[in-house]
Subunit: 155 residues, 3 copies
Amino acid sequence: MNIVLEKRVEALGLILPPAPKPMGVYRPLLIVGEYLYVSGQGPILNNRDLITGKVGQTMDKDQGKKAARQVGLTMLSTLVTHMESQHKIKRLVKVLGMVNSTPDFEEHPYVINGFSELMAEVFGEDNGIGVRSAVGMSLPHNVAVEIEAHFLLEE
Amino acid sequence: MNIVLEKRVEALGLILPPAPKPMGVYRPLLIVGEYLYVSGQGPILNNRDLITGKVGQTMDKDQGKKAARQVGLTMLSTLVTHMESQHKIKRLVKVLGMVNSTPDFEEHPYVINGFSELMAEVFGEDNGIGVRSAVGMSLPHNVAVEIEAHFLLEE
Amino acid sequence: MNIVLEKRVEALGLILPPAPKPMGVYRPLLIVGEYLYVSGQGPILNNRDLITGKVGQTMDKDQGKKAARQVGLTMLSTLVTHMESQHKIKRLVKVLGMVNSTPDFEEHPYVINGFSELMAEVFGEDNGIGVRSAVGMSLPHNVAVEIEAHFLLEE
């Protein structure tokens, strides 16, 4: 449980969904040296439902962007829940944004901005923005967006 | 050649396929500082054939899971063959599990567990389980599963 | 601006396209300690157009390979433009090569070799070749190939 991040999130008026339980044999996050790695996260709602759908078919790009923001809230919940209090995030390093999209969908960056704008809001324009790829594939449980990331911790 | 890992694998009664030769301009693995990175591996059988097929279409999820386990055996073969004896794996850090699946397949985590359960068996419940994403895409030579990973080495 | 890399590129007679501007909320590259991470890059031509198309459908594998080489030139342009002069690349570590391909396309490694051969040319057979995965998915703006990578810097 990380109180500092939880307070930051509360100060911004953000409501976090419950942290996801792993759907398989993996950890929600792992700290190795100065790096914190987060497993691929889907968009979990406050009632524990997932936002599902294929962007470009059953959802438009703005619905996809909202789903990506919800992935960000889910990842923050994972961080608050599983990161111990002595750890503090220094900056976001790298994001792989995966959109459950039709083969001809072209606006993956627009969708994943929903996540990236939230990270900039929480960690700041400098530390909350890292490198990124935003691409399309098929996703577990038909979730609309899945995102994995790693962060740098304060020493 | 890494004798320690080979002995561990033998003690578990696991049979490793021949280590794959790179299908392009890349290395099977690379060590940088404390990190060991492994290139994307497919499921190679003991007779050097690949397990091919599209999960959700020509294969079901249990056949996919077996293919993922075979990817794990293939990765162990790569590690035994190309990791020198002075190196010792401390833990698995991160896995990207890629399933050659139909657009509507939803059980990528179930499939990739075939790999992850093997890693837990070989390296232990703590050190063999890291962060993970398990997603769907199209893969070289129509292999059923491809997995890339990186590990932390003992100092 | 990195003059050393620019001179190396010029000595090889390579013409670099303009460095891409981020299409979303991310940085073109980020340096953390000894690592340099580059965001997913598409194939930008000298006139700023993108090479678009689906490999296996509107493009064949050789056109895909040329697009992957152009992604390499684009990434070099990003490095020359955004890497400061005190930094020097020691080696390529890891590449994720993403081909905008049909579900049944099988030659992703052949395509991504277009990028990898260029890296070997610029950084050498040893330092220019790292670990890699080469896979298929859908890509922003229908670009034919997108590649993300990270490098190790000289200390």
